[in-house]
């Protein structure tokens, strides 16, 4: 794989992991549904 390929893979994974982890941390720290 070329450097560009690695760059896109790492960036894409980082965006998605970042979004998912951010959301779940917030979900578990907030109130439950009524």
């Amino acid at each position: 794989m070329r450097l560009g390929g690695w760059l896109f893979l790492v960036l894409s994974w980082a965006v998605i992991l970042g979004l998912t982890i951010f959301c779940f941390i917030k979900v578990f720290s907030k109130k439950e549904i009524k």
């Binding site: 560009g4 965006v15 979900v27 009524k34």
Partner: protein, 520 residues
Amino acid sequence: MKKRDSWGSRLGIIMAVAGSAIGLGNFLRFPAKAAANGGGAFMIPYFISLFLLGIPLMWIEWTLGRYGGGFEHGTAPGIFHSLWQKNRFIKYFGVIGIFGPLVIFIYYTYIESWTLAYSFFALSAKYSGLCDQSAMQSFLRGFQGLEHNRYFNGISTAYIFFLVTFILNIWVIYYGIKGGIEKLCKWAMPLLFIFGLILLARVITLGTPDLSRPAWNISNGFGFLWNPDFSALKSAKVWLEAAGQIFFTLSVGIGVILTYASYLSKGDDVVLSGLTASGTNEFAEVILGGSIVIPAAFVFFGPQQIKSIASSGVFNLGFVTMPLVLNKLPLAPLLGFSWFFLLFLAGITSSVSLAQPAVAFLEDEFDISRKKAVSIFAVVTFILCQPAIFFLGRGVVDELDFWGGTFFLILFATIETILFAWVFGMEKAWDEIHKGADMRVPKIYKFIIKYITPLFLLSILVSYFWQKESRALIFMKDIVLENKTSVLATRLGLLAIFLILAILVKIAWRKKRLELEKIR
């Protein structure tokens, strides 16, 4: 009026919406699309579409669903009517929100049953001796009843697995939102991710299995999918493919999220929950889906064959290429089972969600019990599933997929976005989104939801008409003569289903109006 069902926990609805979104397409459609449309560069239009189209639509549907639930409506006819009460006809546009999922359910359940069958075949080593594409294709065609061969002597095996899958679906729906769908998704989703991570770990550690072919290694396998081809970005088709992929992967425009969100209470958050469901779906698609099929196939089939494999279609990738790849590895039965059972879990969490709008419509608008609504749904869909099974090779599934699973989805999403941002009004909509919200939506999304998302959807809608393949399908141009009757019959059948649903909406509203007049 009986009390409506509700979710037991916030994680429950997030897992249910994510489960509805995560389907076979995450693991099979996404990698093939990315590989064919610029590799890593595909991720630029993909992420732009996610933030301008996918996530706004998620928020719109979650908000509309919760809003409609407040009026005891769980499906689009009632929700649209609540939004625009002065308009007598808007409820009929909402019929699409029941029609679409019902039509997809008809063929999706059958395809889902193949994954259950192949899970069983993997464990029992039924296809373990097959080592080339033509043998595996023949195995699949025999199983589907498209040919009689030494592997299968008819469709009976496929039909038994269909019956098991269908009964499982009905059983889950029968137990309702909290007792059925939520319970299923709360164990099925973590299990799906466990199987996905096992396969991901196995693929990443493939290395260079054949030392005489050093270029056939896992790094180059990932390179085939991720190396960017920036020239692809000049093509409008690539941007539309990315937008289409985001649209379909998030299960927006179907009507399912509306129904699921209608079981929330007025003060429940939709912003963070919608975003979490989107993130979970993207994890399954990009991280798992983008790392399993194509890189693994590259390692065993090489740089030449992978091009034709990647463009060979979703079924070929999932049911022919993947079992061949996994057959070449130690513990093949267990890995094969992990792959197909992962697909089955992705399938069943989607199919139960497709059933829910029709069941909710009967419960909410006709005030009948869940038991009765599920029984009616089971009888009707069981009959409707039969053409998809017995006329599989006659273009029936393609026809159902085009109308129910593509065209009406985009149309429905366009209607609901315009209704939300322009009829309901952006200021009111913005307040509604933020009721009980655990986080604020960035202000720029006011502009995006009002202008960008509808324009994006309209451009997808126009482009679908513009595409030669779509026009050929609409005007039945490329259909072989022997399939024309079955395709035409399917089209008439779809029209009949739509009209029946519209008549049911009319009856329900008339019944409610008469009841109101009696009270007065």
